[in-house]
Amino acid sequence: MTVVPLSWYLTLGAVLFTIGVLGVLVRRNVIVVFMSIELMLNAVNLVFVALSRHLHTMDGQVTVFFVMTVAAAEAAVGLAIIIAVFRNRETVNVDELTVLRW
């Protein structure tokens, strides 16, 4: 059984992160944007775990648990906000949600 080299993990993490960034920047649906943010968080998680194993230390894995906790909390709050926005505006299109300015 061959060991998957570290560079593959890091490359996969970078690719996932970039997809997430592009999703945040170009998608119009707030829920998709939100999912893209989750994707960015998990890409980083993957890098943390890979490096943790590579360096034989548990610090990275502990950090990942924190990130997942924060992400869960964020998902709860974020989805609640999105539902509230949808109830008020009947849309989840970011281009139409531009009133937080003068």
Binding site: V94, T98, V99, L100, R101
Partner: protein
């Protein structure tokens, strides 16, 4: 001025009592009108009693006594230490008695005169405030406190001239008085500054005693400058040439106000100020000459205008200007005692004449034009008799107050080292004119047939008791007031002058030959009777003559009846250029430059901001892009350095 001062504790109450009246009438008067009628005259009466007490104490202390009270330290800066301090010496005792005494009578009169006015409480608030300010003015122990009173009376004058402010004419008359007085007061302030500058730390409290003690150290040029500048203030306040123009217009106020402020008390403040600073003025012969000349010129000038006025109050106003000219003539020739004596008798008879004219106006339902009066002596006997006494007093008919005081002035004008026969001649001429216009007024108002309209005639009535009693009291004072200052060697002589002597020193006219004195007296009496005779011929015996005369000399008639076009000249020379300049300053400097700068700054910032606000789209993805580029930039910086 160097006498020992006795400290007493009650002087502050004299101005404080009317001040209490101000608070009461101002805050509670609207709700308790019947109390105003008691409180307003009451506080002035109480102040009068206190003034009497001060006078008696002064009298007991003997020759040259001074009562003082330092109420609290006012300004304390470096060497300068100015106190709120009051002083009663012979001069301020006389003034205080006049202000509170005549003031009390006029307050009582006002209760009747203003009884139906909706602004009753406001009127008495102002009148009490005036009394308070005037008392501060005459009781002040130093120039700054005097100036407080000086400005205070000016303010009250403004408020009371424009008392019926609903009529724009009254409001603008008040404004005119205020502005003209500001011009004079600017001179007064400058004089004060020059004096303070030159005395320096020598007179750290600017009290009259200190100024008197240090007056000798000043250079003659300084004294002349100071006295002239202060005299500018006096010409404003006391309506002398060239600043007299506000006083005739001031007749827009209620008539008791004209009597109290614009005849008896406030307008004499300039005379009082010069008499108070006599020790400075005698050091400046040039100023004395100016004062005497201005006084004599004003006396004559105003008297000629008085000849042709048809408004009963305007005649009295010009008469006041003219009589104030006499007072300045007196102090200008060094006869300070005579000036103050005339001030007192004038307060009696001019107060009386104004109150009498008020009674007439009251009876005539507000009519002031003498051409629509006539024959009133049948309807208003008390007013008629008292008015007659006042007229006889002002014209200098022997035996009444004005005769003695005016004669003392004319004698001094002739014999004093500062005087000259010319000043005397001007004074006598003005006396003749005074006699003419006063009897003209008397004849037009009280004699002949009544020319009033029917409904006015129907309402004609004698005034209520609260108005006639002050008239009678003032008439008695006008009749006998002169006997406190008889010419030298007559009966008991001149106790009034002797009483004031410690203040003025012994620089009054020395010995005068009795024959000269009698001759001058005879001339002035003859002139007064001549004026009476001419007025009788023109307005009683041959009433058609004035029109013939006016048509005979139309230019002169137009010139005098238009008051020499002085108002028009001032309008063209000063008022209109000032208004034009102010308009230009408003439009060009204020709107253009100052508003332009302020608004321009705001507009520049606004334009700048509306450019930058385009960055803030509200679209979160735009923000996310800029965050991304920011993050990449930072990363790139750390990666490549």
């Amino acid at each position: 001025m160097h006498a020992e001062a006795t400290h007493v504790g009650y002087l502050w109450l004299i101005p404080a009592l009317p001040a209490f009246g101000v608070l009461f009438n101002g805050f509670l008067g609207q709700r308790a009108k019947h109390l105003v009628s008691v409180v307003a005259p009451g506080v002035v009466g109480a102040a009068f009693l206190l003034a009497c007490r001060a006078f008696l104490q002064l009298h007991d202390l003997g020759h040259g006594a001074v009562l003082t009270q330092t109420v609290w330290p006012w300004i304390s800066a470096g060497d300068l230490q100015i106190d709120v301090a009051f002083r009663i010496d012979a001069l301020s005792a006389v003034m205080t008695l006049v202000v509170t005494g005549v003031g009390f009578l006029i307050h009582v009169y006002s209760v009747g005169y203003m009884g139906h006015d909706p602004g009753y409480a406001r009127y008495f608030t102002y009148l009490n405030l005036f009394t308070c300010a005037m008392l501060i003015l005459v009781l002040a122990d130093n120039l700054p406190v005097l100036f407080v009173g000086w400005e205070g009376v000016g303010l009250c004058s403004y408020l009371l001239i424009g008392f019926w402010y609903q009529d724009p004419n009254n409001a603008s008359a008040g404004k005119k008085a205020f502005v003209v007085n500001r011009i004079g007061d600017a001179g007064f302030l400058l004089g004060l500054f020059v004096l303070f500058w030159n005395l320096g730390s020598g007179a750290p409290s600017l009290s009259f005693g200190e100024i008197a003690a240090r007056a000798q150290d000043l250079s003659p040029a300084t004294v002349t400058a100071v006295t002239l500048l202060l005299f500018v203030g006096a010409t404003g306040k006391s309506a002398q040439l060239p600043l007299y123009v506000w006083l005739p217009d001031a007749m827009a106020g209620p008539t008791p106000v004209s009597a109290l402020i614009h005849a008896a008390t406030m307008v004499t403040a300039g005379v009082y100020m010069i008499a108070r600073l006599n020790f400075l003025y005698v050091l400046a012969p040039a100023t004395m000459a100016v004062v005497a000349t201005v006084g004599a010129a004003t006396a004559l000038f105003a008297a000629t205008i008085g000849l042709m006025q048809n408004d009963i109050k305007k005649v009295l106003a010009y008469s006041t200007v003219s009589q104030l000219g006499y007072m300045f003539l007196a102090v200008g020739v060094g006869a300070f005692g005579a000036g103050i004596f005339h001030l007192v008798t004038h307060a009696f008879f001019k107060g009386l004449l104004f109150l009498g004219s008020g009674s007439v106006i009251h009876g005539m339902s507000g009519e002031q034009d003498m051409r629509k009066m006539g024959g009133l002596r049948r309807y208003m006997p008390v007013t008629y008799v008292t008015f007659l006494v006042g007229t006889l007093a002002i014209t200098g008919i022997p035996g009444l107050a004005g005769f003695f005081s005016k004669d003392e002035i004319l004698l001094a004008a002739f014999t004093s080292p500062h005087g000259s026969p010319l000043l005397w001649a001007v004074g006598v001429t003005a006396a003749g004119l005074t006699s003419f216009y006063m009897f003209r007024l008397l004849f037009m108002t009280f004699f002949g047939d009544c020319r009033a309209e029917d409904h006015t005639k129907h309402h004609l009535h004698e005034s209520p008791r609260s108005m006639t009693v002050p008239l009678v009291v003032l008439a008695v004072l006008s009749a006998v007031g002169g006997y406190m200052g008889l010419p030298q060697h007559w009966l008991w002589g001149n106790p009034f002058g002797a009483f004031l002597e410690p203040v003025f020193g012994a620089h009054e006219a020395g010995h005068v030959p009795a024959s000269l004195e009698m001759t001058l007296m005879a001339v002035s009496v003859a002139v007064a009777l001549g004026g009476l005779l001419v007025a009788y011929v023109l307005y009683v015996a041959r009433p058609e003559l004035p029109r013939v005369l006016a048509e005979g000399a139309p230019r002169v008639h137009a010139l005098i009846s238009n008051k020499y076009y002085v108002d028009e000249a001032y309008e063209a020379l000063f008022v209109r250029p000032t208004v034009t300049l102010s308009n230009w300053l408003w439009r060009a400097c204020d709107v253009g430059v100052i508003d332009g700068l302020v608004n321009g700054t705001a507009e520049a910032v606004g334009a700048n901001s509306s450019l930058w606000r385009r960055l803030q789209t509200g679209n979160v993805q735009h923000y996310a892009v800029s965050m991304l580029f920011g993050a990449l930039l930072i990363l790139g910086y750390f990666a490549l350095r």
